[in-house]
Point group: C2
Chain length 408, copies 2
């Protein structure tokens, strides 16, 4: 009896038929998860893909190569966008929203780069845009920030949110693999982006951090304004150096309120036994939320891979069927308070850093306030120093060979 009422409400008010764009790792994970879900069914009316010649694991008549044809269908209420190319994705997502279709996306680069536009499109066309799968894989972090911490004044949000980098660091540390071999494994397992530079240089976690900041603090930052240094220059020496101190190196995305401003950056970090992050291994992600009243919360789960991310996307599709959408309460409050969603990014502070370098000239790019330790041997040279944060923007390029990590 009760079941009948429930079914009636869901099916009658909002029957959920969707089109899927992209059928890679996450798309196939979603397809499988949807096929085996007991509670919720959505019909995939069509799958939009680009490559006509690629071998597919389901029958060809499920696919279309014409995205305009798909977006024009009258039998879908929503699309799921899981396309690799961010420009194609932007076209698909904006066209869909303009046509009144709801959108689920796992494309963090797209979302972070165009957040302001995509936010306005949601308001203008009265459609939902959900993106739990874009941030920390299976961890329901966006939903929790949006729904549960919306009344809580948050102090910080931080964590390990790039499964691929974390996999590489874990394999180097636990198994003594070299960087290149570990990266290759991460790619084979489907954890890495097509362009691994996005992962290892910290762009991918930065895009996710931009999304976290929107929901945690109600502020929109352009990704380019947020500092990211990655693990591309990490060496066995660095990992051994951490181990000698009982620590491990993790790539950590961090955002915290400082007065009315926000500090936000992605940096490698030495973490010790006292840290919740020290045992987060392989493709696992962990996000720590610190609230004024709720204290510290940690959410841990798989941050990459076909099924964990597919499950997150499925949960968004199911939420759409209940007419769920993000309310962006904190963002609306900030817009009302200062006319726009932007607060200043705080860059006026120093960080205590481990800096491994090859020759002194490399250090000139950095605003070193105080050298605390200095080490030189035939194998490596490093400093532990207090460094002006803003000078780290000078060493963001691919040509930089310094390895920099936060200490303590």
């Amino acid at each position: 009896m009760l079941r009948i009422i429930t079914t009636y409400l869901i099916l009658d008010t909002y029957k959920m038929d969707i089109a899927l764009f992209g059928f890679g790792c996450v798309g196939q994970g979603l397809y499988d998860a949807l096929g085996q879900s007991h509670g919720f069914k959505a019909g995939i009316q069509k799958i939009g893909v680009k490559d006509r010649h690629k071998l597919r694991k389901i029958a060809l008549d499920h696919f279309s190569f014409d995205s305009l044809e798909i977006l024009g269908r009258s039998d879908i209420q929503a699309i799921v966008e899981l396309v690799d190319n961010a420009e194609d994705a932007l076209d698909i997502v904006t066209s869909a929203m303009q046509r009144g279709l709801h959108v689920v996306s796992a494309n963090k680069k797209l979302l972070a780069e165009h957040f302001d536009v995509l936010f306005q499109l949601q308001q203008k066309h009265g459609v939902a845009l959900l993106y739990e799968g874009a941030c920390a894989g299976s961890i329901p972090i966006i939903r929790n920030l949006e729904e549960y911490y919306d009344t809580e004044s948050l102090i910080s949000v931080s964590g390990i949110i790039n499964g691929s980098s974390n996999y590489i660091l874990t394999r180097m540390d636990r198994d003594g693999l070299d960087y290149e071999t570990a990266l290759k494994q991460a790619q084979e397992l489907g954890f890495a982006e097509i362009d691994p530079w996005l992962d290892v240089a910290g762009f991918d976690p930065k895009y996710k951090l931009v999304l976290l900041v929107v929901h945690a603090f109600g502020v929109i930052f352009k990704p380019d304004a947020v500092l990211n240094l990655g693990i591309q220059n990490v060496s066995a020496f660095d990992i051994e150096h951490a181990a000698l101190k009982g620590q491990r190196i993790k790539l950590v995305a961090y955002a915290a309120r400082n007065g009315n401003n926000i500090q936000a950056f992605v940096l490698p970090r030495f973490v010790g036994k006292e840290s919740n992050l020290i045992n987060i291994d392989n493709e696992y992600n962990a996000v720590e939320i610190e609230g004024a009243f709720s204290g510290k919360q940690l959410l841990v789960g798989k941050g990459a891979g076909s099924y964990p991310t597919g499950a997150a996307v499925l949960s968004d599709v199911a939420a759409l069927s209940h007419q769920y959408r993000y309310e962006y309460k904190k963002l609306h409050q900030n817009i009302a308070a200062n006319g726009h969603g932007l607060q200043d990014l705080d860059k006026d502070f120093t960080l205590k850093l481990y800096i491994r370098y090859q020759d002194d000239a490399q250090l000139q790019a950095l605003d070193i306030k105080e050298v605390i330790e200095q080490y030189t041997s035939p194998r490596a040279k490093y400093l532990i120093a207090e460094v002006g944060f803003e000078s780290l923007y000078n060493i963001r390029g691919k040509e930089n060979k310094l390895f920099v990590a936060l200490v303590g």
Copy 2:
């Protein structure tokens, strides 16, 4: 502009004025959290308390000693029930729901003991009953099970969900405190129930487990049917024994699907370095959710204390203002499938247990299938043995002096 629309929607469609019953540890935490919340305001029209002579930290005209008068007020849409006494709480909560008032409660005993009735009252009177604060303090576990894992076929839900027992075990382990001193500290810090037996004997985590099972598996169990053994007989010997193996003792609530049945129990457990639970200390709680697709997720946060629990209650009140209510999707599915919300509790399995005993006669209550290790010294005697699960129900009473813990 956008802010105006939001405010209009919230205030005009559903202005939130509430009455609060109980002004103890959590009630005061809620009061403070509400006073300092930026995003959300609710008006506490009246606070119902029993004791006319107790010194209160806010003016006396906030209080009423007449619960009927409060429930009859026309200026409230919801009540928050934070009363110690479960019978008083049942009266207040049922009367409120019958009058069409929404209810937020943090009373796990009330909710678990009377779940079937309280579930039906929600349906019958079209009101919401929210209880995030009843389970694992600041961790939004009910909300996540309800909203995010509703489409996911879950394999297990388990964790440390009694802050007071965990505090005692931590202080005994880390600081060498004896059991009585550690318990007294937990009480002074406001982590323990008024009757500490509910905590240390595992009743409190069992009530919470009953609530988790409703949302994770859609099944209602009576608390009395679920086995709970606690830490009331733990000794320094047991903790040292664990430490020798690089392990720690934790009180763990566990529920898992086994075919169409559910295994559910609360038992002390030896946890090793491979476990996410080993470093969950003091009043922190941790809940692990294992999904068929999402994999293992861990949520960690403060499980007890005025502010963390107050923040959870506040989040529920804020959710009410958006007309949020639990949908119990999995429970409705089970009701439709088998006519009622009950599936069988699986008791037909064995567990590998550490059993410390004083004399052999105590062991007769247990269905010991196989003794794996046996140890006797002037200081202690213990067995490691495979034991028929159902026989553990024989040693639930206060007179039992065995200490039993799951191994591995």
